[in-house]
């Protein structure tokens, strides 16, 4: 395969190619699904970085300026005010809990440390790829987390949002994990599966497919809007 290297792809994603180069690369993208996928991933990464840096991270609000070598000192066992990863920059939102405390583990081991009050941990998972096996592995880890939180009496809410190719796992005819999802949804009431109506509509319009979503999932208008909204509300975001 006559591959374009990452320089070209990066330049393409950054919009730095000349019109001729752009055209040539677009042609190559049409010929080569792998390359197209890569370009898509790069674009996605760029968008994430942009989003990440557009929002002042929580740490900025959490660390006190006078604390020298703050990270090591904090990691050594100090308590630090933590409004949760994205919480810090949501100070103006009603969700923000600036007084919440997190114990930092120096080795990075151990799981989500207890917060000083009993505020709920909220995580939105975003499934966008057709790889159901990978999504199922994510579900395994999510289930272990649900178990652990339940055992410790810590409140946790999890939403699993599927859109685009990630919708397959919630489709009646295509899901390889209907039974597993049903069991999880029955067992954990703090776990919600969410399907994207935009994707459902698009499949119908573009491919004439009448999509049936498994009864364990709820349907919302737009998966992407939904996960963005959740992040703005202070939810932790993890992509499948």
């Amino acid at each position: 395969m006559n591959r374009h290297d990452e320089f070209d792809l990066n330049a393409y994603v950054d919009g730095e190619l000349t019109p001729e180069e752009n055209l040539a690369l677009l042609g190559a993208l049409q010929q080569d699904p792998e390359l197209a996928k890569e370009a898509c991933q790069l674009n996605n990464l760029k968008a994430q970085v942009k989003l990440a840096y557009a929002s002042p991270p929580g740490l900025q609000a959490l660390q006190r300026p006078q604390r020298k070598s703050a990270w090591m000192a904090v990691a050594a066992g100090l308590l630090m005010a933590a409004a949760g990863g994205v919480g810090g920059w949501l100070a103006s939102s009603p969700m923000a809990q600036p007084d919440r405390l997190v114990v930092l583990d120096p080795d990075g081991r151990g799981q989500a440390p207890a917060s000083a009050n009993s505020e709920e941990t909220r995580i939105v998972f975003h499934l966008t790829t057709p790889d159901q096996a990978a999504a199922a592995e994510l579900l395994d880890d999510v289930e272990k987390m649900l178990q652990a939180y339940e055992a410790d009496g810590r409140p946790l809410r999890v939403e699993i949002v599927s859109n685009g190719e990630g919708l397959d796992i919630l489709r009646e005819r295509l899901s390889d994990y209907k039974e597993r999802i049903h069991q999880l949804a029955q067992r954990y009431h703090n776990l919600t599966f969410v399907a994207c109506k935009n994707t459902i509509d698009r499949l119908k319009v573009q491919q004439g497919i009448e999509v049936n979503i498994i009864p364990d999932a709820e349907v919302i208008d737009s998966g992407v809007d939904y996960v963005v909204k959740r992040q703005q509300e202070g939810w932790i975001y993890i992509r499948g």
């Binding site: 320089f7 994603v13 002042p56 070598s69 990863g85 799981q111 652990a148």
Partner: protein
């Protein structure tokens, strides 16, 4: 591959970081660092390699002002699985700890990037952490990769999924 092939993204990052530098990208001299966690759950060596190169670009753009962790979760753990282990793995088809991959991992770990491997995923795929995994400084095992991603974000880490 042309030399300096990643310049556009690095530049893009560099510009962003410089723009933000005054408020948050601060280095060891008592200033704050940016904390970033990369999530890798793809089994593909190609995808993993690309992720690590993004990490390297990020590191080069930011220098001392950044702390990066890479959480290997699900089949992303294959990044550090030695090829000899392929014979007994369960449901994992790639063991990507080739010399090319481990050279990059070693370089990054020496530069302070911390690799966190999900123990659930190791167990699921019958990977023996004592024998099947590439080891280096800054490679640690965490009980649950997903929980670790949540925990780090609660601490203020920015989340990036390449």
């Amino acid at each position: 591959m042309r030399c300096g092939g990643y310049r556009p993204l690095s530049q893009f990052l560099a510009i962003l970081l410089i723009a933000l530098g005054a408020t948050q990208a601060q280095a060891d001299d008592g200033k704050e660092k940016i904390h970033v966690v990369y999530h890798v759950n793809s089994e593909s060596a190609r995808h993993q390699m690309a992720a690590l190169r993004s990490v390297r670009n990020h590191l080069e753009a930011e220098g001392d002002g950044i702390e990066i962790r890479v959480v290997l979760q699900g089949r992303g753990v294959s990044m550090l699985v030695l090829p000899d282990a392929l014979l007994h793995l369960n449901g994992l088809h790639q063991a990507n700890a080739t010399p090319q991959m481990t050279a990059l991992v070693a370089e990054l770990s020496q530069r302070g990037v911390r690799f966190e491997v999900c123990a659930n995923s190791l167990q699921r795929h019958a990977i023996d952490p004592d024998h099947d995994l590439y080891t280096a400084d800054n490679i640690v095992i965490v009980p649950n990769g997903v929980a670790e991603l949540a925990r780090l974000q609660q601490q203020g880490y920015l989340y990036i999924k390449p």
